[in-house]
C-alpha cells in the first residue's frame, strides 16, 4: 500500500505504533504482540466504538509495501474504530503470519467484536485466542475449508455457453 503522503522523517506515532495515511484516512499499524494493549489505550483516547473487524488474505500480494517499514505477512486483521465524541475514524491493521494465524480476542475490550471475530475465523481460519465461542457463523458446521482465502476455489459450476469465463 504505497501511502501517497510523503514518508515524513519523524513518523507520527500513536501508542508506539506508526500511523500512515491511506487516501486521507489515518491507519495505525499495530504489531500482533501488543494488539489488545493498544486497543485498550485507544478506548481511553475516546475511540470507544468498534465499528468493524475483518480479515484480508494477502496470498497473491506477498511483497506489498505496508508502509512505515512493517514486515508484510499473509493475513491482516483490520479493525475500524470510531470516536463519537471526537467524530473521528481510525483503522487498525495487524499483520498475522500465514503459518500460525492466531491473534488475541477483543471480546473483553469490545463485546461487540464477538460476532465479527467468529465471521473472520469462519472465512479466513484466523483463530482468536480467548474467544468465548469460536465456532463458524456463516458456513454450515461441517464445512471444510475457509472460503475467503485466496487459495480457496470459488466453486463455480461450468456454465453451458462456450468461452464464457467471466
Amino acid at each position: 500500500m504505497s501511502d501517497n503522503g510523503p514518508a515524513a522523517e519523524t513518523q507520527e506515532q500513536l501508542h508506539g505504533c506508526p500511523v500512515i495515511e491511506s487516501r486521507g484516512q489515518r491507519v495505525v499499524l499495530v504489531p500482533r504482540g501488543d494488539y489488545v494493549k493498544v486497543m485498550k489505550a485507544l478506548v481511553a483516547d475516546g475511540f470507544d466504538m468498534l465499528v468493524d473487524l475483518t480479515g484480508v488474505d494477502y496470498l497473491q500480494m506477498p511483497d506489498r509495501n505496508v508502509g512505515a517499514g512493517v514486515v508484510p505477512e499473509r493475513f491482516e486483521v483490520v479493525v475500524n474504530l470510531l470516536s463519537i465524541s471526537r467524530r473521528e475514524r481510525l483503522r487498525v491493521r495487524v499483520q498475522v503470519p500465514g503459518d500460525e494465524p492466531t491473534i488475541a480476542t477483543l471480546f473483553d475490550v469490545h463485546p461487540g467484536s464477538e460476532a465479527h471475530e467468529r465471521e473472520t475465523f469462519d472465512m479466513f481460519g484466523i483463530v482468536f485466542e480467548g474467544h468465548p465461542d469460536l465456532t463458524r457463523i456463516l458456513m454450515p458446521e461441517d464445512w471444510q475449508g475457509h472460503p475467503l482465502r485466496k487459495d480457496y476455489d470459488p466453486g463455480r459450476i461450468p456454465v453451458q455457453f462456450k468461452g464464457a469465463n467471466a
Binding site: 504505497s2 500480494m61 475500524n80 463519537i84 467524530r87 468465548p132 457463523i137
Partner: protein, 461 residues
Amino acid sequence: MSVAEHDTTDVDAPVPGPRERTVSAITGEGGQELSSRAGMGAKELLREVGAVLRMSESEAAALADIEADPDEDQTMIINMGPQHPSTHGVLRLMLELQGETVLRCKPIIGYLHTGMEKTGEQLTYMQGGTNVTRMDYLSPLNNELAFSLAVEKLLGIDGDIPERAVWMRMLLSELNRMSSHLLFLATNGMDIGAVSMMLYGWREREEVLRFFQKVTGLRMNHNFIRPGGLAADLPAGWRDDVLDILEMLPSRMEEYEILMNGQPIWRERLQGVGVITAREAMALGTSGPILRSTGVAWDLRKHMPYLRYDQVDFDVVVGAYGDAYDRFAIRLNEIRESMRIVYQILDRMPQGDFRVQNKKVTPPPRARIDESMEALIHHFKIFTEGFKVPEGEVYVGIESPRGEIGCYIVSDGSSNPYRMHMRAPSFVNIQAMPHMMRGGMVADAVAVISSVDPVLGEVDR
C-alpha cells in the same frame, strides 16, 4: 405414482457413486447451536444471557439475576427457526424458555450466505454495484452509494463528481430511506398484530417504488448509483412525481399515528420491551435507530456528513427510553425528516451532467462512439476489462436506514477489487438481540426482532 420411502438414517460416509441420500437429515448445526448450561464457559453463558458490559461475574449475576434461573430440566429450548413468519427472512433464533419467559437467546445466521464478498473479488469495479446492491435489499441504493463512494475515494475522483450527480444521489438515498422505513412500519405493525398496517405500508411503498421504476428502470436492485456518478439522468417530469409522493404522505402518516401509537394496546405491547441502555448499545457497536433509541444522538449524515448533507438542515431523531416503542417512533419521524430533506433537495437540484467527465472512468455517450475511434476504444476497454484503480485501501461509512453501512475495499491496481468487505449494520444489530430479549415474554421476542428490523441479505452477505 410410486413414492420413494424417505429413510432419514444418519448420513453414511460419502460414497463416491450417486446414492439416494436424503438431505433432510442434517439440519443440525452442532457447535453453533444453543448448548445446555452445564457444558458452557462462564463468559459464553454471560454473553448469551445478555450481560454486555465488561462486568465481573458477580456484578453481572446481580444484574442479570442468573441465580434466579431455574436449573436445566425446567427450561425448554425451542427453535424460532429459519422458516418463520416473524423472523424477517431466514434468521434462526434458539430460545431457552421457562414457560413464557425468555432466559437465553442465541441467533444462528448464515442461512442466506451468498458468498458475495468472494463474488465481489471476481467482478470488476463496473460490475461491483450489481453484487453489492443485493445485500440490503430494502435499501439497495444506499449499498450502491457506499460502494461507489469507496471506489471514487480510491480513484481519487471523489472531489470532481458533478454537483447534479451528488444531489441526485442524495435524493435517491433519502427516498430509499423512506421506502425502507415504510416497509418497517408495515412489517412492525403486522408482527405486533395490526395486520391491516401491512396493507397501508405497502400502499405508500408502491408509490415510491413506481418513482424508482421510472427513474432507474427497476423496482429494486437498481445498479443506478455507479462509481463515477449515475447511470442516467432524471427523466422529464420527475419533479412532479416526487411532489406527488411528498404531498400524499403526510395525511397517510396521520392515519398511521391514529392506527398505531394512538392506541393504548400498541403502547402496552411496545413500551418497556427490548430495553437497551446507551453504554450497552455502544459496547455492542450497534448503530442507526437502535443506538439513537437510547438517546445517543449519532447520525452519520449530521455528525460525519458525506455528499451535501451539511448544506441541508434536518433534525437527528432520538428516543429516550431505548425500547421498541422508541425505535418505532424514531423510524416514523425519520420519514418526516427525509421528506424535509427531499423538499430542500427539490429546491436546490442544480443542472449539469450526471457523471464525471473523466475519460478513464466514464464510458463515452453512445452517439460519440460512431464518430471517434478513440471513444470506441474507451468504450470497449471500460466495458470488457473495466477501469484500473490505483493500489490502496479505503473505508467509507454512510447512514443507511438500519445504521452505518461501511465499504472497505483493498485494491491491487487491477480492475477487480482485491478484497471487498461490507460492514452490515444488521449483522451487528442482531448481536444485540440476546441482550434485549432477556427476561421478556416470547411475544416480546417477536416485537424485539421486528424493532431491530434486520435484513438477512446484508447479515449473511
